[in-house]
């Protein structure tokens, strides 16, 4: 597997220490202290618990107002943000591709990361067949766009993938395709995943470590069997 250009401490991926964040005079995250190991982690909790906000802190799309987050033993702020984001990819909840084809989006992402693009293989990892390469992103269904977003993130060969409700807008069939793709990723590419989901069943299917948020506070953190017993 590819070595990290910026860090290589394998034990703990992310460590949160007293992390807090306010928005519009409201506390969104409050005194969060937890660890996220390598492997598959799910962040669960009800709507408004701060799950997506926490996910965005992990690749510095935003910074906490209080506390500190470390990645592989070093403070997140010690990394160069752009390099960090190429290593710790994020797939947002709503698809937001650039104008053009699926292929042009993948090429853009690969170029940013300085990685060669294996187009068909990358599409395949996201559950898309090669015919999707030439498709205009505006003519894809939401489910296809979400898979194209996943493929675009994979084109950068990240070591960690942050996934924000990757199946929230999908029907069962499309959801199963994405879930199967995510399970394959872990097996074949050894990518660690941090998945935000409002659905405890999905967390059970896709993770072995769970972080539960309730109203911006930690409601539980540990192995799947303990937290979602």
């Amino acid at each position: 597997m590819r070595q990290s250009p910026i860090s290589d401490d394998p034990a703990v991926l992310f460590e949160l220490r007293d992390v807090g964040l306010d928005r519009g005079g409201k506390t969104v995250l409050d005194a969060l202290s937890a660890g996220i190991p390598e492997g598959a982690t799910a962040i669960v909790g009800p709507s408004g618990a701060g799950k997506s906000t926490l996910l965005r802190l992990l690749n510095r799309l935003a910074d906490p107002d209080r506390g500190e987050i470390s990645y592989r033993g070093r403070a997140l702020t010690a990394y160069e943000p752009l390099a960090l984001r190429r290593e710790v990819g994020l797939v947002p909840q709503l698809p937001a591709l650039l104008e053009g084809t699926v292929e042009s989006n993948l090429r853009y992402a690969a170029k940013l990361a300085g990685e060669p693009l294996e187009l068909e293989k990358t599409l395949g990892h996201a559950g898309l067949d090669p015919s999707f390469a030439e498709r205009d992103v505006n003519k894809l269904s939401v489910g296809e766009q979400q898979r194209a977003m996943l493929a675009r993130a994979l084109a950068q060969r990240p070591r960690v993938l942050l996934l924000d409700e990757p199946t929230s807008a999908l029907d069962h069939a499309a959801r199963d395709t994405i879930e199967a793709a995510l399970a394959d990723l872990r097996r074949e590419l050894e990518i660690s995943t941090v998945l935000v989901s409002h659905d405890p069943e999905q967390a059970r299917r896709l993770s072995d470590w769970v972080l539960r948020l309730e109203g911006g506070r930690l409601g539980g953190c540990g192995p799947l069997a303990e937290v979602l017993a």
């Binding site: 964040l21 965005r56 799309l61 909840q93 591709l97």
Partner: protein, 266 residues
């Protein structure tokens, strides 16, 4: 050189002629009253302001022509740039810290275009040329940069998800904002490009009309109009480009994060 001075002095407009043209203002007010458009008050204010403002400007220009000092001209242009930036800032309300980009954009557009037309020997560096041309250049630069930043403010709001998704790939702020900056620049320039395309077909531009009324030959009127149109094209492209390239940065933190983001709390 364009024989502007000879043409401009060849007619005299009497006060009674201006007063007579108020009949058309009365007509406009009557139409508004009749159709309940509720614009009578605005028409009255607009008419009053136009008389006062243009009269004051007329005296100011007369003073500047009489004194004939390049420093006074530069001071007047600086004041135009300052007020232009203040005015344009209101149109760019959604752009944080828009005043500085606008001020720099207008100063650069005015300085570069006027400097170039003087350097190329098109106009003499005298108040008679620099004051009216400078006014047009800065006025058009103001409109273009205001439109561009207005669009930038809207687009940065609409395209937040796409911009942040691009940042999440490790793109720089500049790369993530590039499509938005491109569209904003385009919208700042497109009005003048379009009116340049249709000039003479759908409307007669103001300078040409003014010169014809003042008794200039049609050839001179057309030539001067062309010079001014091309000067304005240069001015609006410099101002729209400078304003958008400086202003988009204000949406990002040094760590390439979008500022003032409505945080998702799901």
């Amino acid at each position: 050189m364009i024989p502007l001075a000879a043409a401009a002095t060849s007619i005299h407009v009497a006060v009674w002629q201006v007063a007579a043209s108020l009949a058309l203002v009365a007509l406009a007010a009557a139409i508004s009253f009749w159709q309940k458009a509720d614009l009578e008050r605005d028409i009255a204010v607009a008419t009053g302001r136009s008389i006062v403002q243009l009269t004051l400007v007329g005296y100011a220009i007369k003073l500047i022509f009489d004194v004939d000092s390049i420093w006074l001209v530069l001071a007047l242009l600086a004041v135009m740039v300052l007020f232009g930036a203040i005015t344009a800032r209101h149109r760019a309300a959604k752009v944080p810290g828009s005043f500085r980009p606008l001020l720099i954009a207008l100063a650069l557009a005015g300085g570069a275009t006027l400097g170039l037309v003087v350097a190329l020997g098109i106009f003499e560096p005298t108040p008679r040329y620099l004051v009216p041309v400078g006014g047009m250049v800065i006025g058009n630069a103001m409109t273009a940069s205001a439109v561009a930043l207005n669009r930038l403010g809207d687009e940065m709001g609409d395209a937040r998800a796409r911009i942040e998704a691009t940042l999440a790939l490790g793109a720089t702020a500049r790369e993530a904002a590039a499509p938005t900056v491109r569209r904003s620049l385009r919208s700042g320039m497109i009005a003048l490009v379009d009116s340049t395309k249709t000039t003479g077909l759908i409307f007669f531009p103001g300078t040409m009309v003014g010169m014809l009324l003042a008794g200039a030959s049609p050839t001179d009127a057309v030539r001067l109009q062309l010079i001014l149109l091309y000067t304005l094209l240069g001015s609006v492209s410099i101002s729209a480009l400078t304003a958008t390239l400086l202003a988009y940065r204000n949406f990002f933190t040094p760590a390439a994060q979008l500022r003032e983001l409505e945080e998702a709390t799901t």
